[in-house]
Symmetry: C2
Subunit: 331 residues, 2 copies
DNA sequence: GTGAAAGCGCTAACAG
DNA sequence: CTGTTAGCGCTTTCAC
């Protein structure tokens, strides 16, 4: 391994001069050229660890994701990665497999690695999270959820839910079924759901059943198999596209037709919703923008600038084949 | 920041003793307890960089992926991550956005970070790759491709192609269309394709058209829109599930029916192929096993053990609704 | 502009 | 078993 000492020696200068050369300090053109040559010859590249030892932090950003096999997580990941690369930062991705405990663990691990900042895609933010975050002195940006006292960025969940609720209501349906998720998930289980329910309650004579399921495709599928035969809903709203896909599959299994037997919609704007038939009405979230803005906000945090506690990214409704007017059936 | 010195001082021992305590050296129970207490009180955790400075390598494995938004990449990623965690290793994921140049770059970056080993999901392995890999002295395991002189692990591509070809042939079709990918991709563009063609050529009186497309959904979709109306094939094989999904969508757009107008199959075993209707015949690859075995092999490499140059993971055919016997149409 | 020297936090002989 | 003593490769004063 070639070190700064080797370079200094070969160039006949002190290693501090090489260090200056490396870090843009003042070095005469002559010395610079000399060192340049040696560095190129040897292919020298400074030892990141030795650098970090002094520097106290690195050009790395850590991101903690609940799962690697989720469309939305990957969209954000791609976007964050791209944005970071422009800034010559490295992304360190760690996966928690949806374990809250592992989230805490990973915050520590990343802090130890001296990442400059952490983006945390938590599902649920506990007191313990807050404690750990305050202990380490690395800025943390919450993504997708909010929590008091922590900086966060996320989607306009209420607005998304509301837009979808309006759409559903405007089609003249009266009986709705909403596949929601557990309330501990503030963003999806509360804000998104509230948006949906608020809009639906603005309609007259409507009946809304709410059923709680999880983000798991399989679980949602099994639940749908059980529920679909019993419900009289003519419009089924699902809290995520994933759940909507599960309901679609269940409908298929049960030989029910969408949108003839019932309308169906999801949330998320997953690509697959446009491929299946019928294509599924959904809300397209701004994952790319979310990733970009997250990085921007995190850097402001790192620089010590003060930013608003919570940033929300807009989204828009995509009306597709899976949702139709209820009037049709009456005709 | 609390350092080993602080601990040593507070415990009234030398820092080397603390170091030994940390690394499982021989320390008396009494001293151990004393240090234990201080460590817990202070929440001390050793500085990874200082450790790495000496150790010359870290408990991190780097993985270079061509894209973050691909099903197969994520399956492997999940599996590698899980396996690594059991060994208390961290995964450092870097993304190349399918740029070969960036692959080279990332190999360097990871080597500089002193990862213990690198898993490279390359699409094409150039001479430059080989050069770089030989320069750094970190073991590299190629995943999904093979190249002479490099250790690799991948799928049984030929066998997969052959199995699918047999299936297609056995259904009595005579006119086939194969959406392949560029030949530079050895695994998919050559081995998989060869498997398909070999099997198909064992049939009599068959006609196989080959059309080259890319891994991009959109590109495949547009190409399919153009090709489908012209072809007389009754069975369309696609090199990936992604391409198959694109063809499915194109068929939909063109109001063609699958499998009535033609049978369709993909490769990969993506979850979505079981959700759409008709469900799509595919080959289920062992992504999980691939990830696990990759880690295992990489660790053998790291330990300096010699392993076979190339390891292949088996897969199996999933017959679904999208492929039916040609005889049907004659009836 | 440049060099000498003092660490950064930790590990690893080497004595004792 | 434990303390002393060198470094690991690099950055950063502080004189010159």
């Amino acid at each position: 391994m070639v070190t700064i000492n080797d370079i200094a020696q070969k160039a006949g200068v002190a290693k501090s001069t090489v260090s200056r050369y490396l870090n843009g300090g003042s070095v005469s053109q002559k010395t610079r050229d000399k060192i340049d040559k040696i560095v190129n010859e040897t292919g020298y590249s400074p030892n990141t660890f030795a650098q970090s030892l002094k520097a106290k932090n690195t050009k790395m950003i850590g991101i903690i994701v609940p799962r690697l096999d989720s469309y939305s997580a990957n969209e954000v990941l791609s976007s964050v990665d791209r944005t970071l690369r422009e800034k010559e930062y490295q992304l360190l991705i760690t996966n928690t497999d949806q374990s809250s405990e592992r989230e805490i663990e990973n915050i520590y691990t990343l802090a130890k690695q001296k990442v400059a900042g952490i983006i945390l895609m938590a599902t649920v933010v506990t007191e313990e999270h807050k404690k750990v975050i305050s202990e380490i002195d690395v800025p943390v940006l919450l993504l997708g959820q909010q929590a008091e006292g922590l900086h966060s960025i996320g989607h306009q969940e209420f607005e998304a839910g509301y837009a979808m609720g309006r759409h559903a209501g405007s089609l003249g349906h009266k009986n709705f079924l909403y596949f929601s998720v557990f309330k501990e998930d503030i963003a999806v289980g509360q804000h998104r759901a509230n948006g949906v329910l608020t809009a639906l309650n603005e309609e007259t004579d409507v009946n809304v059943d709410i059923i709680e399921t999880s983000f798991s495709f399989t679980k949602a599928y099994e639940l749908a198999l059980e529920i679909l035969p019993k419900t009289n809903a003519t419009y089924i709203l699902c809290a995520t596209d994933n759940i909507a896909m599960a309901v679609l599959k269940a409908a298929h299994t049960l030989q029910l037709r969408i949108p003839d037997d019932f309308s169906l919609s999801g949330f998320g704007g997953y690509e697959v919703t446009s491929i299946v038939s019928p294509s599924i009405t959904t809300v397209k979230y701004g994952y790319k923008e979310l990733g970009e803005t997250a990085v921007e906000k995190l850097f402001q945090l790192i620089k010590g600038e003060s930013i608003e506690e919570n940033t929300l990214i807009p989204n828009y409704l995509l009306k597709r084949e899976s949702t139709v007017s209820n009037v049709k059936k009456v005709e």
